[in-house]
Symmetry: C2
Subunit: 354 residues, 2 copies
DNA sequence: ACCCGGGCTGACAACGTTGTCCAGGCTCTA
DNA sequence: TAGAGCCTGGACAACGTTGTCAGCCCGGGT
């Protein structure tokens, strides 16, 4: 009898089930409560000017129908979406995940939802995501750049979508950016190795078109130059950070007639691979890595790192974003957050050859 | 002189700039191109029935005004949002981050965006997030439950929002769920310790109202019972997984007159803390942990774990979700994914007392 | 008896898009 | 040359909500 086939009501009890396919609307609630449309709107939004009795009737109707306000319509009408978009490289990366979470917390504190996506270090995909978020009319956008040309965002920013870049600066446009001090951090890390007696230090980093990678390389060179040490270009390896390439490069640097006695690794993925390679060698190799790692203190030796604070990076970027949304209209700002050297053993090993 | 000629190009120069506050709309584009509104819509959506010449005029106008379709309006009109919501415990948790990413990838393959949020293991916050996503009219919802009563989602599900639960089953409603075999995994892990000679095995887990925690405890008891071993209730510690409590409990189990010789830890956070405690002890303590850890193989001894595959969990849940969205209407399904024991050393240590 | 003010309420337009439907002009055929 | 049929383009309503504004009712002041 209650066939699912031609019975429109389907789910609930009897009563005036509205509109076959969809959900009840304020109009339906109004009809059931015997009030006007706008009165329902007032109740739903907690606006004043509704008597207790009317409000009760409306609330009963809402409960009976299972009404929930359609935010799409609300957004269309009001123009603000109370949502921010975040484009990052990889949601699953242990460096970006805390950043993601920090942005979420700030958004939440401002009553906004978070839409996010991974660019997979692909400029086209970054663009595609950012523009999709803009089409959804996010109020603001935080971008961790994969590409190096962000002019495509100019119309959106001009149209009022606040945009903050994080971890890396924007390319070819002027915009807010929140960065870590990659140059200073790398310089400090390499200087630390030099201070422990190393002269032949390898650098394993990401492709130099990535801003942070270029900065870290610059820091490496600055530290070497500052100590009056030459850099053999064969000690420098830049490229994709997949385990295979990094493994091969690490092995190349650490074997052969004149191996390096220490490695500086440019980010967490590279560090992990390098640690695995070193673990397979008979002699100890000093290592300092950029980015902290969970459990880094439990290895023997512990891994000495230049730690960034990804959560702080995200929080700072999000706070700047919301300040912009609240009207701060001064010139684009560039915030640089400090890094911190955490000595744990691997960076304090003396040079060993052979 | 390029083709754009003297026309106001990108952002904002002269020209018929419409509507002071906002962005250009299809109406503005239509006016500028000298065509009807619907023709613009057709061009934007790649619908047939527009001559090349007209299309060019429209595209020029779009470029000149910096028009981008407002997806809020589109969503309102079409009823589908091409977005899915994901409620999980913590975006930054190394277990959930890959799950998040996997859901994103599947959503992307289906042309949908992802909205997500962290419940922080709080039932109210889970509810708040899920309902906020519903108000945005996500097409589907993936929930990693924090609470144990999901009846609040019934109206939404009845109204057509497909919902899949992941990692833990729904409470008090019937719904799709994708789980790991917590019971079997824990039983196997504890049996592994027993097989290596342990008789006094401690269990450090999360609050038992969390389904996975209860299942893992059940697995522990089953393994002990299966070997005919008694369980001293002082060996079992359930509660919040903050480092302080876990540290105190681990120390309690491992010291005193009759300490346990091995630990089974109920999730990645607990494992990490337990490893730190053990590292501070003079004698070796065998350990098997639920959930894999990055670098677990590099510790000495390596950490033996029961590995789940969080990415697969997310992928499976998302695929099931989209199957539902494409119309699969059969009864709620419960998928259980296997776990895998990865022996690395810590689980193979013999019992040592003292 | 009349008017005024304030508190409630509802009718209506608007947000920007898409689906429906019809008009006009063209080509093709008889 | 007229009629049929196709192609292109536009007018209009609808999606569900909120802002504006006007109307109603009631009590109190004149």
């Amino acid at each position: 009898m209650t066939g699912t086939g031609d019975d429109p009501g389907g789910t609930a009890r009897g009563g005036p089930q509205p509109r076959y396919g969809g959900r009840p609307t304020m109009k339906d609630v109004a009809a059931r409560a015997g009030v006007g449309l706008k009165t329902v709107s007032r109740v739903v939004n907690g606006e004043p000017g509704v008597t207790q009795d009317t409000e009760r009737r409306v609330r009963d109707a809402i409960a009976a129908l299972g009404f929930r306000r359609n935010d799409s319509a609300r957004i269309l009408r009001k123009g603000r979406t109370a949502s921010v978009g975040l484009v990052l490289e990889d949601l699953a990366d242990p460096f970006y995940a805390p950043l993601n979470r920090a942005v979420e917390e700030v958004a939440r504190a401002h009553g906004a939802l978070l839409i996010n996506g991974s660019s997979a270090e692909d400029a086209d995909r970054e663009r595609e995501l950012a523009l999709a978020f803009c089409a959804r009319r996010v109020d603001g956008l935080i971008v961790i750049p994969a590409g190096d040309d962000h002019r495509y965002l100019e119309p959106e920013m001009a149209a009022g979508i606040a945009t903050v870049f994080a971890d890396r600066p924007a390319g070819r446009i002027s915009a807010d950016a929140v960065l870590s001090d990659s140059f200073g951090g790398a310089r400090e890390g390499v200087a630390h190795l030099i201070a422990h007696g190393h002269r032949r230090i390898g650098f394993l980093g990401d492709r130099p078109r990535i801003h942070t990678a270029a900065e870290r390389l610059r820091g490496y060179r600055a530290a070497m130059a500052g100590a009056g040490l030459p850099v053999d270009e064969r000690w420098v390896s830049l490229g994709p950070t997949g385990p295979e390439r990094v493994r091969a490069e690490a092995e190349r640097l650490l074997t052969g007639p004149e191996p390096v006695t220490a490695l500086f690794t440019g980010n967490n993925r590279v560090t992990v691979t390098a640690v695995r390679v070193i673990a397979g060698l008979p002699r100890p190799v000093a290592l300092v890595g950029f980015d902290d790692l969970e459990l880094a203190d439990l290895l023997s030796p512990g891994i000495t790192v230049i730690a960034q604070d990804p959560a702080r990076l995200g929080r700072t970027a999000a706070e700047l974003l919301f300040r912009r949304l609240e009207g701060a209209g001064d010139a684009p700002r560039r915030v640089e957050l400090p890094t911190r050297l955490i000595p744990r053993g691997s960076g304090e090993l003396p040079p060993v050859t052979g």
